[in-house]
């Protein structure tokens, strides 16, 4: 089996993740922050250790500004809903956003009558900074952009956008789902206010845990309130982060698994890891570009993208192509709209979408050769001429 859907979730996970989760269930099986006996304190310290490791990895000096969530979607919902007023405001995003951003915005818009400006692609850019500047209004409360598209992998100029946001005094939220773990980051040095990401993609942790970085001085309305384990007589949730945003029992096994992944990534040389990703991505792009009948949607220069390539294969629907790649070639890729419908409208690939191939740190050159060869076979045999299982492999 060749797994090339790392933009959906990393496979395999970092070494040590599974062991850390099992150790948690066996050794720290108490509720962190919700008890003063020794086992609960051990669990509390273990969760803090994971938070501290992730803070080092992501460049956050104060670990309390890194909130654990159930995933990027929960983090984005907290950031968006916790930032926007219940009436009369304006938000700017791009056509490249995931539904984890778009659907909270559509929901907010329908409930409050707020407005959303979607920046279109222009002049070969995912969006043009001039369009962003022009879209700013006096009531603009939030700019939300991903750090890289989950359809094409193209990186967003986060620093340039952040400087525009700062100049206008607008809160800036970054969906870092496709970038965390891929690029060396120092979140506190970026001109951003909020950063959301999952733990199970580039960070190589388990599913069910994500992160929201909240810059010091930024306060959000908590999305979920409940027990914090302390200050129980108050009617209001705690004032302090991260507990203000972590009501209830946190996902301790998931957090400790993610902490182990962070320790693994901290032990790697980020420059070497990124260089390797660029090399493997460039090989994939180059290999597919040589296949007649394949249209690519990806960063023109691999150094300006993360490990994602979308493609269309002449004569094949994306779904059918992915099905044959799986069943006949043992290659796992993602077909369809990848939860980013506006991106596919912008690319002209809606409603069917694309075949998305996404690499990870453990993807080999042999994996790339195999998927390029398989797609070349498909391109030679349009789907309406074959039955499942009958595409010649060699």
């Amino acid at each position: 089996m060749i797994y090339l859907d790392n933009a959906a979730t990393a496979n395999p996970k970092a070494p040590g993740v599974g062991e850390a989760m099992v150790r948690c269930l066996q050794d720290y099986n108490a509720n962190p922050g919700h008890g003063g006996y020794h086992l609960a304190v051990q669990a509390t310290m273990a969760v803090f250790g994971a938070r501290a490791s992730l803070s080092r990895l992501l460049g956050v000096a104060d670990p309390s500004r890194l909130v654990f969530t159930s995933g990027a979607t929960a983090a984005l919902n907290q950031a968006i809903r916790g930032s926007l007023p219940e009436s009369g405001a304006h938000v700017i995003c791009s056509a490249w956003e995931h539904n984890a951003v778009l659907r909270p915005l559509w929901d907010w818009r329908s409930r409050t009558g707020g407005t959303v400006t979607i920046l279109p692609p222009r002049d070969g850019y995912p969006f043009h900074p001039d369009d962003l500047e022009r879209a700013v209004r006096p009531d603009t409360a939030l700019i939300v952009l991903n750090a890289a598209s989950n359809v094409t992998g193209v990186l967003t100029p986060v620093v340039a956008v952040g400087e525009i946001a700062r100049r206008h005094g607008i809160r800036f939220l970054v969906d870092g789902s496709q970038v965390a773990g891929h690029l060396a980051l120092s979140l506190q040095d970026l001109p951003i206010d909020l950063w959301a990401c999952p733990g199970h993609k580039g960070l190589l942790g388990p599913q069910g845990v994500g992160l929201l970085y909240i810059r010091p001085g930024i306060e959000l309305q908590p999305l979920i309130v409940g027990g914090a384990g302390f200050d129980s007589s108050r009617e209001e949730p705690p004032d302090e982060a991260p507990e203000r945003y972590e009501a209830g029992t946190v996902n301790t096994p998931g957090i400790l698994g993610l902490g182990a992944a962070a320790e693994y990534l901290l032990a790697q040389n980020p420059t070497v890891a990124r260089s390797r990703e660029i090399t493997v991505l460039a090989a994939l792009q180059e290999g597919l570009s040589r296949v007649h009948g394949v249209a690519l949607f990806t960063a023109q220069d691999a150094s300006r993208g993360v490990g994602v390539v979308s493609c269309r294969i002449a004569g094949w629907s994306s779904g059918r192509a992915a099905e044959v790649l799986d069943r006949q070639f043992g290659i796992c890729v993602r077909a369809g709209l990848q939860c980013a419908p506006l991106a596919h409208q912008a690319l002209g690939t809606a409603p069917e979408g694309t075949v998305r191939i996404s690499i990870g740190p453990f993807t080999t050159e042999q994996d790339i050769d195999a998927v390029v060869r398989a797609i070349a076979r498909l391109a030679e045999h349009p789907s309406n001429t074959v039955q499942l299982g009958s595409v010649p492999i060699a």
Binding site: P32, G33, H34, G35, G36, A40, V41, T44, M45, V47, F48, G49, R51, A52, P63, S64, A228, G229, F230, D231, S232, S233, P238, E240, A241, P242, E243
Partner: protein, 79 residues
């Protein structure tokens, strides 16, 4: 008002890494740990105070005074 577990854990780790073993103090409501008891050498008191206050923690009262251990404080922040 008591501190959350993250500030407490951070203070705990800083103190222990600095050679000051801590004991965790539970909240009066029987809930989570809310403070730390730690013996601090007089000459280090001000620098440790500064670090803890930067974390949002601050000492509230001395909890013990034993021979050779004259400066044990309980840290229950934001009192």
């Amino acid at each position: 008002m008591f501190t959350g577990p993250t500030v407490l854990a951070r203070a705990f780790r800083l103190l222990e890494d600095g050679g000051y073993p801590c004991a965790v103090v539970s909240a009066p409501d029987g809930g989570s740990p809310c403070g730390l008891a730690v013996a601090v050498r007089e000459r280090d008191r001000q620098s440790i105070l500064a670090v803890l206050q930067a974390l949002g923690a601050a000492p509230t009262r001395a909890v013990s005074s034993e021979p050779g251990d004259p400066d044990a404080w309980e840290y229950a922040p934001k009192a």
